[in-house]
């Protein structure tokens, strides 16, 4: 090894930082009123709260409005190509395990062009955090329908209404076997902070869908659920260990039995456990909002422990070194059956 390579482990620990320290010197170029601002704000606040040193953070993104995120963070950042952030992030975390790696992606980047990579990120359980900004529209290309747009949505490429069925990010992540799955809302800072904190502390892939408003091309798409005046009655927060009660007066509950989740009195509500072996209850909840009169679940759908890919890969390297000794170039080249020519 050349001796001018300084391992990251010897890096001195810098002083704790406030929120401002995580802001880069770049001008933020999202549209005024965009939901992305509040997500950026929440992430910066959370990192300051947790005291994660800036040099140990790496934000990776693909393409789209949400994917500009790394430029606004005064950390390491890689703005990659459309849909592929999970592949970059997988390698970054595996090759440099001391980094805390975050992915910023959107419904198009993460579930359309990058759907395949998202599947494999989630199933491999890489220790990275995924912020999926879901605004049900393509923003940066100026307003075409996305894979999460509701059927019938009229856009520039669907003038008679989209005939695509929509994918539900939570159910997608459940199907992929993700070990942490949550949903939060751009306008609900307190909730977002709590969910992101749980995500940051999860070891493994933490997948967070964020309802994010696009003021220009799909304004108010979540209003029926998230608008402040209705939010408490239209959402139910999934908090581990707490009963599934909701409503302004906490006057309603959710009971899960068999393959159904229904609205009940608070006393009858199921106590929420996202760490069960089976993901069935989470799946039932993920479909609940489609029943008329049922709330939309937000909060933590799933949180289980499972080995991570990055650790597994590095353990294999350590095991090989322990078993065979550190590889020597001489042994590598001078292997096999040989003969001499004099």
């Amino acid at each position: 090894m050349p001796d001018d390579i300084v391992p990251t482990t010897t890096a001195p620990k810098p002083a704790p930082l406030d929120k401002k320290a995580y802001k880069s010197d770049q001008e933020v170029r999202w549209c005024p009123g965009c939901g992305d601002y509040s997500i950026l704000n929440a992430v910066q606040q959370l990192l300051a709260q947790l005291g994660v040193p800036r040099h140990q953070l790496c934000f990776v993104s693909g393409i789209g409005c949400s994917s500009r995120f790394p430029y606004y963070m005064n950390t390491y950042g890689l703005h990659s190509i459309h849909g592929r952030a999970p592949a970059f992030a997988t390698a970054i975390k595996t090759a440099n395990p001391e980094l805390q790696v975050w992915i910023a992606t959107g419904d198009g980047d993460g579930l359309s062009i990058g759907g395949n990579h998202m599947l494999h990120l989630l199933r491999r359980n890489i220790d990275v955090k995924v912020l999926l900004f879901n605004n049900q529209i393509y923003g940066l290309t100026k307003g075409q329908y996305s894979p999460t747009s509701p059927p019938g949505l009229k856009t520039k490429t669907s003038p008679m209404g989209s005939v695509d069925r929509a994918v539900d990010p939570i159910r997608f992540a459940l199907g992929c076997g993700a070990t942490f799955i949550a949903r939060t809302i751009d306008t609900h800072q307190k909730h977002m902070l709590a969910v992101l904190e749980a995500a940051a502390k999860h070891k493994g892939t933490a997948f967070v869908e964020i309802f994010q408003n696009c003021v220009i091309f799909n304004d108010g798409c979540f209003d029926e659920v998230i608008e402040r005046s209705v939010r408490d009655d239209k959402t139910v927060d999934l908090i581990p260990g707490k009963p599934l009660v909701y409503g302004k007066q906490l006057d309603k509950g959710i009971k899960i039995d068999a393959a159904e989740a229904r609205v009940v009195a608070p006393a009858e509500a199921t106590s929420w456990d996202p760490s069960t072996r089976s993901a069935a209850a989470a799946f039932v909840l993920s479909e609940m909002a489609e029943q008329p009169g049922s709330p939309t679940p937000i909060g933590i759908f799933r949180s289980i422990q499972s080995p991570t890919f990055d650790e597994g890969m590095n353990k294999q390297v350590q095991a090989a070194v322990a078993k065979r000794g550190p590889g020597k170039l001489q042994d590598l080249i001078w292997s096999g059956d040989k003969w001499d020519v004099k």
Partner: protein, 616 residues
């Protein structure tokens, strides 16, 4: 040495070409590799050419299911696996039908008559039996019922009749060992190791091998035996036999070590490149992180991520995979990180000929990305040269902070030859430097090679962002400025052209001026050399030169090209290098000699082409 008691005359010969051909399930690749292994240990120079179908097991006995392995071994320094076999071993009618046209007139064909029943002929779609219709009259046909002989040899074995038949290839190998006076010991040993857990298999195959060898003595099939003496004209040193993919994989590990880096390889299995990922997955003791990605795109992106994180990113693929990776490679060019992309070329377009060779990805490698996205391209000439080229690809990638495409092809990847093992002190290191100084840090500052600083994320005080959007010179901030864009486009191109300052002008072999310069790149190396030698034997002196660096082209070429009336460029494509050369040296005379048959050039073809050019 051989245990033969034969009193038949032993004829010394310089070089022999044998082709083993049989059904995909007949074990011809193993037979060929074992013969190769033995020839190598004996000290012959050799070259091999495996040729097999893309299907794992095409229907038994059919022509598409035929798998072949050609080896040439010699007491002189040889450069190709030979134009035409001296001996063809045909395990069934399909193998005979597919290969007989290649056999030298008067050559020996050894036929397994046990597989020549009516149904076997029908499977091969033959309407008459070649053993009876005089179509083989031009050859010396040796008929032997190997099916039956194996049953006799293994009488009393605990193996099932089907398993007994699977020992046919070792019986055949034994017979060839007898014919060429070879030692059975290396193969006996190999069998013992290979089937260590199945003693019955070891015993049966060893028995079959010995029975085949003894048959040579007992059966009076041949009038004489042959001996190809050791090759003592190779440069002195320690040698081993090596396949291209193997040498290339070892070269990558060596290159990373010489740079003081660990490898992160992201790859997706694809013929004929998969053995590179397989090999590297087995080199974990060198700190190699190997990831079998979900697709070609994820593979290149993961490799770039690995480089971003401070490893040496590597991805290996074949033509269709390279097409998928190109957007990712463009990003690596924009963010200026080292990356080695290995492309083991095969026949195309599309899926094309997965197991056959071609060198038609040159233009894809040099130009195949959106916009002005330049990168260095280098090409392996032979199986053992793949080691040096892999090291060279790593050097350029690290020194210039750039992706590098390393071209191999199916012929090199699966072929083998003796490799003179380099001594460690012969390998020059090129340590990677990671920036740690905070003061005056600019992510897109450049050194004398025009390379930007490499910063490992995790380094305190150097936090910065990179990405695919155009960057401002020095700061790396997003910039849509018109003049900055043009400056950066030129800068990236200039950096790639700067590679020329660290590469040698290739050497001309043969007359320093004259009528014809044979110019090659990639796997045409051996055929061109062979052609030059054959022409010299006929009194025609031509020069030859080989390009390892195909982009950027080395300094000093124009002056060389000017000294020849014609520069003849044989390529296994429709003339891709010629297009590049005509663009760079419009005043010189290039003649393209294309061949796109999924097969390497034969020496005779090149000789005929040169002669026709010279009007002789």
């Amino acid at each position: 040495m051989p245990q033969s008691t034969s009193e038949l005359p032993l004829q010394l010969i310089d070089s022999v070409v044998i082709r083993f051909a049989g059904d995909s399930g007949d074990g011809m690749q193993i037979t060929g590799s074992q013969f190769t292994h033995t020839a190598a240990l004996f000290g012959n120079d050799l070259a091999t050419f495996p040729d097999f179908p893309a299907e794992i097991r095409a229907p038994a006995g059919t022509q598409p299911g035929v798998s072949g392995f050609q080896i040439r071994f010699a007491s002189s320094d040889i450069h190709t696996p030979g134009d035409a076999p001296d001996v063809l071993v045909a395990m069934n009618p399909a193998a005979l039908a597919v290969n007989i046209k290649d056999l030298k007139p008067g050559g020996i064909v050894i036929v397994n008559t046990g597989q020549f029943g009516d149904s076997d002929l029908a499977k091969a779609r033959l309407t008459s039996n070649p053993l009876k219709d005089h179509s083989l009259d031009a050859y010396r046909v040796i008929e032997i019922d190997i099916n039956k002989r194996v049953i006799e040899a293994l009488a009393g074995s605990t193996l099932s009749p089907k398993e007994v038949q699977r020992c046919k290839n070792f019986y055949t190998l034994g017979l060839m060992y007898w014919l060429y006076n070879r030692d059975m010991e290396p193969t006996l040993k190999w069998l013992a190791e290979k089937f260590a857990k199945e003693p019955a298999m070891v015993e049966a195959n060893q028995k079959a091998l010995r029975a085949g060898f003894n048959a040579g003595d007992i059966q009076e099939l041949f009038q004489g035996r042959f001996e190809v003496p050791k090759c003592d004209v190779l440069p002195p040193g320690t040698y081993r036999n090596i396949m291209g993919n193997q040498a290339l994989s070892m070269g990558l590990v060596a290159g990373a070590e010489l740079a003081g880096l660990k490898i992160f390889i992201g790859s997706y299995p694809i013929t004929p490149a998969s053995p590179i990922l397989e090999s590297l997955a087995g080199y974990k003791q060198f700190g190699v992180l190997s990831m079998q990605a979900e697709d070609e795109i994820a593979a290149v992106c993961a490799a770039i991520g690995g480089s971003y994180a401070g490893h040496l990113g590597v991805t290996s693929t074949s033509g269709p995979g390279l097409a998928l990776k190109q957007e990712g490679i463009g990003l690596a060019i924009a963010i200026e990180l080292p990356l080695v992309i290995v492309n083991v070329q095969r026949g195309g377009p599309s899926t094309g000929l997965p197991t056959k060779t071609e060198q038609a990805d040159l233009l894809q490698a040099i130009f195949g990305r959106n916009s002005e996205a330049w990168l260095p391209v280098i090409a392996c000439a032979t199986p053992s040269d793949s080691f040096d080229c892999a090291v060279e690809a790593c050097r350029i990638a690290v020194q210039y902070m750039t992706p590098v495409i390393l071209l191999s092809d199916g012929y090199i990847a699966n072929g083998s030859e003796p490799w003179r093992l380099p001594k460690l002190e012969e390998l020059k290191s090129f340590p990677a430097r990671f920036r740690t100084e905070v003061e005056n840090f600019l992510p897109y500052d450049r050194n004398a090679d025009l390379a930007r600083p490499w910063v490992k994320p995790g380094t305190v005080g150097l936090e910065h962002r990179v990405g695919g959007l155009e960057k401002a010179h020095l700061t790396g901030h997003i910039s849509y400025d018109a003049e900055n864009h043009e400056f950066m486009v030129n800068m990236r191109a200039a950096k790639v052209m700067k590679v020329r300052d660290s590469i040698p002008t290739p050497k001309v072999e043969g007359p320093a001026r004259g009528e014809v310069l044979l110019l090659g790149w990639g796997s045409t190396y051996g055929s061109i050399w062979g052609a030059q030698e054959m022409l010299a034997e006929q009194g025609i002196e031509v020069a030859r030169m080989h390009l390892r660096h195909v982009w950027p082209l080395p300094h000093g070429l124009d002056e060389i090209f000017a000294r020849y009336k014609t520069v003849l460029v044989p390529e296994m494509n429709l003339g891709q290098l010629v297009r590049v050369l005509r663009g760079e040296f419009p005043q010189r005379n290039f003649v393209s000699y294309p061949k796109v048959q999924g097969l390497p050039f034969r020496v005779h073809e090149l000789v005929a082409k040169v002669k026709s050019l010279l009007g002789r």
